[in-house]
């Protein structure tokens, strides 16, 4: 469904070049929920911008359903971390969700139905007439998710969407994403810097190295599909997986790509 092949991005700025992403290859199958996790400053945002067509890669390519991404594709929806700056404050909640559908040239009744359905499934059926700034942070992010759902994307990209909400809201939103993924069978790529969140949410976790970014490791999360905040997080398997991801992140920070145990510092490239 979503293929990233040999992606490379070099920023050329005043006199110096920065290689943000070196060589990334991974794919997300249809209906899969994949989490991307990496040390902070590892080029996650660059990667996402290249994938969504907002930024042109220096090398390699991104394919959505076999077609090369050159600009924002209509089959892709985006949920940003900065919910407060992603919703338009001059539009009511319902209008925010509806605007992208209008751009698609959809008939009014169909739009209405999609908006109502999307708001319903994020638990905000009554909030259509409110302005985003009248809602709490968590509710605003729900609106952004509803906007993405109503857009009926093939792939949903989420860029650290819960980094700015409090812990309890965050747990609720994580469960919401799991539920929507299961109910609607959508394909989700979820980027986070939170290891627990990555393991709890994902069916697969892709660990990224420090910048210049490559794939450090891919890891299948073999936890049951039915997950809940209380029981899943205390399972021994959950602890093992999170330890594994944690080790990989630490290895990534040290700059060791292979991270073979007993060989610390092997393959050190540079700071």
């Amino acid at each position: 469904m979503l293929d990233v092949r040999g992606l490379r991005k070099v920023y050329e700025g005043s006199g110096r070049t920065v290689e943000a992403v070196r060589d990334l290859t991974f794919s997300v199958a249809a209906g899969e929920l994949v989490c991307l996790v990496g040390p902070s400053g590892c080029g996650k945002t660059t990667l996402l911008k290249c994938m969504s067509g907002l930024l042109a890669p220096t090398g390699g390519e991104v394919l959505l359903d076999g077609r090369r991404v050159t600009g924002p594709p209509p089959g892709m929806a985006f949920v940003f971390q900065e919910y407060g700056r992603s919703l338009f404050p001059w539009m009511r909640v319902g209008q925010n969700v509806e605007l992208p559908l209008k751009q698609k040239g959809m008939a009014k009744e169909r739009r209405r139905a999609l908006v109502a359905d999307a708001l319903e499934s994020v638990g905000l059926a009554d909030a259509a007439k409110a302005y985003p700034w009248q809602l709490s942070g968590g509710m605003q992010q729900r609106v952004a998710i509803a906007r993405a759902l109503a857009y009926e994307p093939q792939v949903l990209l989420m860029d650290e969407p819960f980094a700015a909400v409090d812990a309890q809201t965050r747990a609720d939103l994580e469960d919401l994403v799991r539920r929507l993924w299961r109910e609607r069978g959508i394909t989700v790529l979820f980027v986070t810097h939170d290891i627990d969140e990555a393991v709890y949410l994902g069916e697969r976790v892709v660990v990224l190295s420090a910048s210049p970014t490559v794939v450090q490791e891919e890891l299948v999360v073999d936890l049951p599909v039915e997950r809940d905040q209380l029981n899943t997080r205390v399972q021994p398997r959950f602890a093992e997986l999170r330890t594994r991801v944690y080790e990989q992140i630490q290895a990534a920070k040290r700059g060791s790509v292979s991270a073979a145990p007993g060989a610390p510092g092997a393959g050190v490239e540079k700071e």
Partner: protein, 262 residues
């Protein structure tokens, strides 16, 4: 009960200072024999006979028409050009020095110049008002358009909101608080230019009327004209505030809510 009390209190605050000032004026000027400083009582007495229906039609309405046309012209041109200049870095770099120069020229200076090619009719006055009013609107629009949030811009791109829809749903609403700041500044400039252009060359209008009264030594009449100008400015600013509060209700709400929870 509490509500009516609050309304009364606000009304009292609004009315208090003008009432005090008028009272001071009234008593300070009472019994004045100076021809140029007639008692307020005389001015008030002259008011209804000077500003009868005929004069309102002959002087006030033409002034208002010139002001509003010039202002509307400035708003349309200012917002359109400002959006264009604000959207493109190259256009901005190209236009900026010229804009700074033109902005620095005091608009009243342009009255004799504009008279040369626009004549002395309504057209000239409208052009003068528009030329003076356009700068605050233009420059504020440029700033507002430049300041559109990059996350919102990316959101629009991701969701296929481009072209005219982007302008209508993202750029202009986002810049609207700045645009209104410019419109507000321009309103007072517009009134000043309306009066000045009418003092230069006109056969009617508020500015013309005031100069006529002064030349004919109808001093109380001249004072009533000044009062009418003040009232006109006040009323226009009240109307402006009403419109602004309506159009920017989201902005005030957003500001209040972010103030409550920083």
């Amino acid at each position: 009960m509490n509500g009516t009390f609050r309304v009364l209190r606000r009304l009292l605050f609004v009315v208090a200072l003008p009432a005090v000032l008028l009272t001071v004026w009234w008593f300070a000027s009472a019994g004045s024999t100076d021809v140029y400083w007639p008692p307020l009582e005389t001015i008030v007495a002259a008011f209804p006979e000077v500003w009868d229906g005929e004069r309102i039609r002959a002087d006030l309405l033409p002034s208002l028409w010139r002001l509003l046309s010039g202002y509307a012209l400035a708003a349309v041109v200012g917002v359109a050009l400002g959006t264009l200049i604000g959207s493109y870095r190259t256009v901005r770099a190209f236009c900026e020095p010229v804009l700074e120069f033109l902005r620095a020229v005091p608009p009243p200076v342009l009255v004799p110049v504009i008279m040369l090619f626009a004549g002395i009719g309504d057209g000239m006055k409208i052009v003068v008002i528009a030329v003076g009013c356009v700068w605050p609107i233009l420059l504020n629009t440029v700033e507002g358009v430049r300041a559109v949030d990059p996350v919102m811009t990316e959101t629009a791109r991701c969701y296929g909101v481009g072209g005219a829809a982007r302008l209508r749903h993202l750029v202009l609403p986002s810049a609207s608080p700045q645009i209104f700041a410019g419109l507000r500044q321009s309103l007072s400039i517009g009134i000043i230019l309306m009066v000045i252009s009418e003092m230069f060359a006109a056969s009617n209008g508020l500015g013309f009327a005031i100069v006529q009264f002064q030349r004919g030594f109808a001093i109380p009449g001249m004072w009533t004209g000044i009062l009418v100008l003040g009232l006109l400015g006040f009323l226009l600013s009240v109307v402006f505030q009403l419109v602004e509060r309506r159009v920017l209700s989201w902005y005030h709400g957003l500001r209040d809510s972010s103030r409550r929870s920083p």
